[in-house]
Symmetry: C2
Subunit: 470 residues, 2 copies
């Protein structure tokens, strides 16, 4: 079903200006162009107008108007998304949360923080760190992404392997619904068995059910120490095997990342870093971090993990000795995506499988590359079985709308599904993956999702065209 | 709206017999009487028939028949629930999961277990423990409750304070929907951003959206050691204060329970135990457990917590020295609910507040008791802010249907709500709390829940009368 939407009229623009103030309604070509992109491939969808409300009440008023006139609204955080969630696929209004950018309360008595959605994730992390508290989910884009976007996508990051993803920290959400109602989804408590879990339903719903205007997160005590090491593997698949071996031996690292050597070389050149010793016979690195409150215990743990890994064909283990080396190494890891994208690897998949299936996934990905003649580099949160697969195929800058690439990706996702995995671990489905939802979700499950969408948004104004077609 | 349901006819019974086999369809008075109760107060709702399918396909066939004829179906696990979720409020079919009782696979490579819903939680815990793995959520009834019921109620237990509740371990669910469709809600992965989180929506939905027929849980490495101590407090409120102090100091105990002295005395007599030294000036005990892989570290942690608590008016700390003492102490704690119920405290509330609000909640509960002339004992998972409030009021064995008690409970829940808390932390809403949902859920939020219910169950056959009225 193709939903019909209305184009914005001058009267709607005037209404928006009345709601948020003239200076926060943007119609100029430059603004519209800026908001036509996010970090997804090279996609481009121009909104008719960009509006930046400051309060839930302003959001509510905007929604009421759009709901009445069937004007699409696309919520947008910092625009760092990798599945096209923040793109105005059907035009209409882009509603940016940039001005809702206050941390409202750090509750040290209850280890909670209440924040608005437009706060940069790293700013939030640092603010709570300053009082000895820890908010772990740290996507690679944490220096620029918004916490609200992290909620919308159920983001992960390197620490997820020990500490869980965004959904594991969200206690309660203030949400504006498409009809303008403002609700709280739960309570500020650690356990909740009070009706359906609307909080968890909102997390990862990619701005299609409502927009989050206040967020209550639980925090944990900040671990005092961490240790970091880099282990070079001569065989990519063995790096994958080692990952599940570490857990089977009873260790729970605070990060366990895999980076294929090609990706590391690209990023090392980009940031002009020599921190990582790269020998010619290395196929991939594992980055392993442990954290806790007792350095001696951590040293023992690192040694034990190191000695466990000697059964594989590895090179010399590199220990990041001081804060600067750690920072350098993490910077490298965090900038991999950006670097390989600049090198032409524009298509990124966010596959996730049960951890022990990682070697099978890697084998399959490489075989696909050979079969269909594309270059591919793998990296990601191996401890969670979450492997980012970056594809470079001459003449195919986007997967979206490319039929040949769609066939390749379908093969990839069918492999992932056969391994017990799924399409996205932390990027969301958005625009670019929605065609593949039937690979992993049965028709009845998809129908439930559509029914939930219609319950929240009967006029289908919110972020149309994302996750599934209606 | 009062939904009209059909009574079962002889032809329906014959159909049920064909689906599951004659011997698994129960119509005799004794069976119907047995399935008319669960552990909730003294409630009694007799089903027309009890049926015990073995497979998802049998469940599907039962649902199809009931859906076609508008016959209510109430799913039931072990019947240990405390909110009336397993009671056939509108008659019809009770569908027991007793025969779906196999652990299907313990996947040691991926640290996962796949199980049917009718497995006793403790059996599951022990089976995975035997291979060095840990499934933490352990409700007090773990020796008799089913894992399927734990999913339905999003159960907690003492370990939740460090390890989280059921929702934090469920990766994927096979669900039979009211129309007979059989779906998987997700994938067997640790991170998932693939469409709406149907898995989390099912957890805690109290058998109103579908019935879970297979469950995939993540497991973690089993901690090697634990230490347990009991700290007597002379002032109940100080015990509450100490709870949040422990976390603010950076400790994360693996259990942090509070038991008011009256409750402990009642249970000590019942089980004829002298393990716990009770001095006359004690008001409450905190039970504190730490766990990990290094005994020295744990000893240090216990000492540090102990020394932190000397700032309060406490008695002599009792350390459970060996496995037997620990078992004894936990047995006492686990049987509190049963013991106080036998003593006439039949009404149990499952309040939960932000941890630091525990003293305010305790004060409020005691004040309510005085005001309305009832006896009350408090105990529960203090580390989570989850306080069970047991009420004994002469002549009022049930809260359900008692108007005077409803007014009292409304006052209690308004207090809880004003403290940032909610009605149920781990028992669910079921029948007995549904009248109070509007205290904590705004009309628009309740409407969303109703819409979700209608999406999953348009004929409203599944567990009618629970959580909210339609």
């Amino acid at each position: 079903m193709q939903v019909e939407y209305k184009l914005l009229e001058a009267s709607h623009i005037r209404q928006l200006q009345t709601i948020v103030g003239e200076q926060y309604v943007f119609l100029d070509a430059e603004s519209l162009e800026h908001y036509a992109h996010d970090e997804t491939e090279n996609l481009h969808f121009k909104p008719e107008v960009v509006v930046k409300p400051r309060t839930p009440e302003e959001v509510s008023a905007i929604f009421k108007m759009c709901n009445q006139h069937k004007i699409p609204v696309t919520p947008r955080g910092a625009g760092t998304g990798l599945s096209g969630g923040a793109l105005a696929f059907r035009g209409g209004v882009v509603l940016s949360t940039e001005r809702m950018n206050q941390i409202l309360e750090i509750d040290q008595r209850n280890l909670q923080v209440t924040t608005e959605p437009g706060v940069i994730t790293e700013v939030l992390m640092n603010e709570v760190k300053a009082v000895g508290l820890f908010y772990p989910p740290d996507p690679s884009s944490r220096g620029s992404c918004f916490i609200g976007g992290n909620i919308a996508e159920n983001s992960g990051g390197p620490k997820a392997v020990k500490y869980g993803v965004v959904k594991d920290y969200v206690l309660n959400l203030e949400v504006v619904l498409p009809d303008g109602s403002i609700i709280w989804t739960g309570a500020n408590v650690l356990k909740n068995a009070t009706g359906y879990n609307l909080t968890q339903l909102m997390v990862g719903s990619e701005g299609t059910l409502g927009i989050v205007t206040k967020i209550v997160l639980r925090l944990i005590p900040l671990p005092k120490y961490d240790l970091l090491m880099l282990v070079p593997f001569r065989k990519l698949e063995e790096a994958g095997e080692a990952v599940s071996e570490i857990f089977r031996a009873g260790f729970v690292p605070s990060a366990l990342e895999l980076v294929e050597i090609d990706a590391l070389q690209i990023v090392s050149k980009m940031v002009d870093s020599s921190v990582v010793p790269v020998t010619p016979d290395t196929a991939a690195h594992l980055i392993i971090e442990v954290d806790g409150n007792d350095t001696e215990v951590l040293m023992k743990e690192m040694e034990a993990i190191g000695s466990l890994l000697t059964r594989y064909d590895i090179g010399e283990i590199y220990f990041a000795d001081d804060a600067q080396q750690k920072t350098e190494l993490w910077k490298l890891r965090r900038r991999v995506a950006e670097a390989v994208k600049l090198k032409g690897y524009t298509i990124e998949e966010d596959t996730v499988v049960p951890r022990a299936e990682l070697p099978s996934l890697i084998r399959g990905v490489k075989a696909l590359g050979k079969k269909h003649a594309f270059e591919v580099v793998c990296y990601g949160h191996a401890g969670d079985g979450n492997l980012h697969v970056r594809i470079h195929k001459e003449g195919t800058p986007n997967s979206y709308g490319d039929e040949a690439m769609a066939l390749i990706l379908r093969e990839l996702f069918e492999l992932v599904h056969s391994l017990g995995g799924t399409i996205s671990g932390e990027h969301g489905i958005g625009l670019i993956q929605k065609g593949f939802m039937p690979v992993v979700a049965q028709p009845a499950a998809l129908e439930l999702m559509r029914g939930i969408k219609r319950t929240f948004d009967p006029n289908l104004i919110l972020n149309p065209g994302k996750i599934f077609d209606l």
